[in-house]
Amino acid sequence: MVEVTMADPVNTAASGKTVLTVENLQAWYGESHILHGIDFNVKAGEVVTLLGRNGAGKTTTLKSVMGIIGKRTGSINFEGQEISKAQSDKIAKLGIAFCPEERGIFASLDVRENLMLPPTIRPGGLSLDAIFELFPNLKERLNSQGTKLSGGEQQMLAIGRILRTGARFLMLDEPTEGLAPVIIQQIGHTIARLKSEGFTILLVEQNFRFAATVADRYYIVEHGKIIDGFANAELPQNMEKLHTYLGV
């Protein structure tokens, strides 16, 4: 089993080598300073969840890793490469795939085109059949306009299309937001399945109950900083603290 030490929460659920290390990450939207020094890491094969209140900086953290925040400083190291200065298309080609909170389904593309949009960056991605096995709804709606899908189907499309590319590091921003419980369950199964197939997942969630079903480790983001972190096994003794952090 995983070894757990409170002194170094960062290295608890270690199952493989570290693939992403973020150190002292600061980021700005225009003039407003959003991230004030984010430190965390993700190891190969883990599901790591960033928790925190609205506006804490979770989404900005993902966008900074993806390279779509204009101004960022500090260090982001992915598989040994420093990417904090890189453009997002280069970062994507290193094997990081991003599923944004607003899902980013294109209205002028049908479902098939949406699915085929992200280019294959390396071999080993899921085949279309494998994606349809995960999300059978998509197969039936291949010729529909992307934005004509229900919210749940759009989320499936947004996740499904990044599984094709061969990227093994997925960043999912609030994949359960606004969805019905049965769909949330389906997405939970999908994440578990991807994890079992060796994908590494960095998740942002407001829905803590959902996160608890899939995550190996948690980091708490507040005011643009990581203020705490623990492994899933330590969850029971941290529940009270967590309620204070999240204000639930």
Binding site: I68, D89, G104, S108, L117, P119
Partner: protein
């Protein structure tokens, strides 16, 4: 009143020819606007450069009409891509007004340079041998070159539509028009796509210029005269739609032609009257998205 069919068809043909140029030019403008969010006022000057490129190819390098149909749009398209990389790139994300002023300035400079060397009168460009002469269709006499321009323009428009609406590359383009940031985060080189898109739009304008050379002669201000009508066409059709700009281009050419037959006095203003009406009733254009 009795209808003189011969004259009516002749004006319809003129309308179709003009419609071909409107369609090719407004198509390029729509493609550029979609991707770069720039209203390309240099379009008329680049159309003129296409005609001049054909003229130079023939008179300097002795390269005729048929190769020029490919070489001139390529050359002017590359010139356009250089403009995009060196100037337009820097104003992306700014208000439309900046793009409008910059491209308008480019148009004035390009036209000024050509006027300086070639004056304002036209240079002749001969119809290629294969397309000389005409056909008697029974109801009218059809000059072959004009028929060719209409059919070839239509084919190019439909191919462009197919490229954008039905291919993988086109899907990338449409997606990047909607959300360039996310498309880039998927690993697609969006800045390169923007440059190529500008090159494509400019190439279409240059192609129209080559097609026009044997009909309208080659003049530094040929684009400046045409582009005003083309912008009215674009306003009527709406900026957003590829098929919309093609159909509106041809349709307005025909409307102009019919007006020339039925009420010649209004033929120069009918497009602008329609533009005013469309702006009053549907400001985003007949097929356009609301801005």
């Amino acid at each position: 009143m009795s209808i003189n069919l011969q004259a009516l068809f002749a004006q319809l043909l003129v309308g179709l020819i003009n419609g071909s140029f409107y369609a090719l030019l407004s198509l390029g403008l729509a493609v550029i606007f979609g991707m770069l969010n720039i209203i390309n006022f240099a379009h008329g000057a680049l159309y003129m450069m296409g005609a001049f490129a054909a003229y130079f190819l023939l008179n300097v390098l002795n390269i005729g009409y048929w190769p020029a149909l490919i070489v001139a749009p390529l050359a002017v398209g590359i010139f356009g891509m250089i403009l995009e990389r060196t100037m337009l790139k820097w104003i992306s994300g700014l208000d439309h007004l900046y793009g409008l002023l910059l491209t308008f300035g480019m148009a004035l400079i390009i036209q000024g340079v050509f006027q300086n060397y070639f004056g304002s009168s036209g240079l002749p460009y001969a119809i290629p041998d294969l397309l000389k002469g005409g056909m008697n269709l029974g109801f009218m006499f059809l000059p072959i070159y004009r028929g060719w321009v209409v059919i070839f323009s239509l084919i190019v428009c439909i191919l462009t539509w197919y490229l954008i609406e039905r291919t993988r590359l086109g899907a990338n383009l449409r997606a990047a028009t909607e959300n360039p940031t996310l498309v880039r985060a998927f690993g697609i080189n969006v800045p390169r796509m923007i440059t190529l898109t500008y090159g494509l739009g400019v190439g279409l304008a240059a192609l129209a210029g080559v097609l026009s050379a044997p009909i309208n002669q080659v003049r530094p201000l040929m684009g400046a005269d045409l582009i005003i009508v083309v912008f009215a066409v674009v306003v009527i059709g709406g900026m957003g739609s590829i098929m919309g700009s093609i159909i509106t281009g041809f349709a307005l050419g025909i409307v102009e032609g019919l007006t020339k037959y039925f009420y010649p006095e209004a033929s120069n203003t009918v497009v602008f009257v329609l533009m005013v009406l469309v702006l009053l009733i549907k400001p985003s254009g007949l097929t356009g998205r609301a801005a």
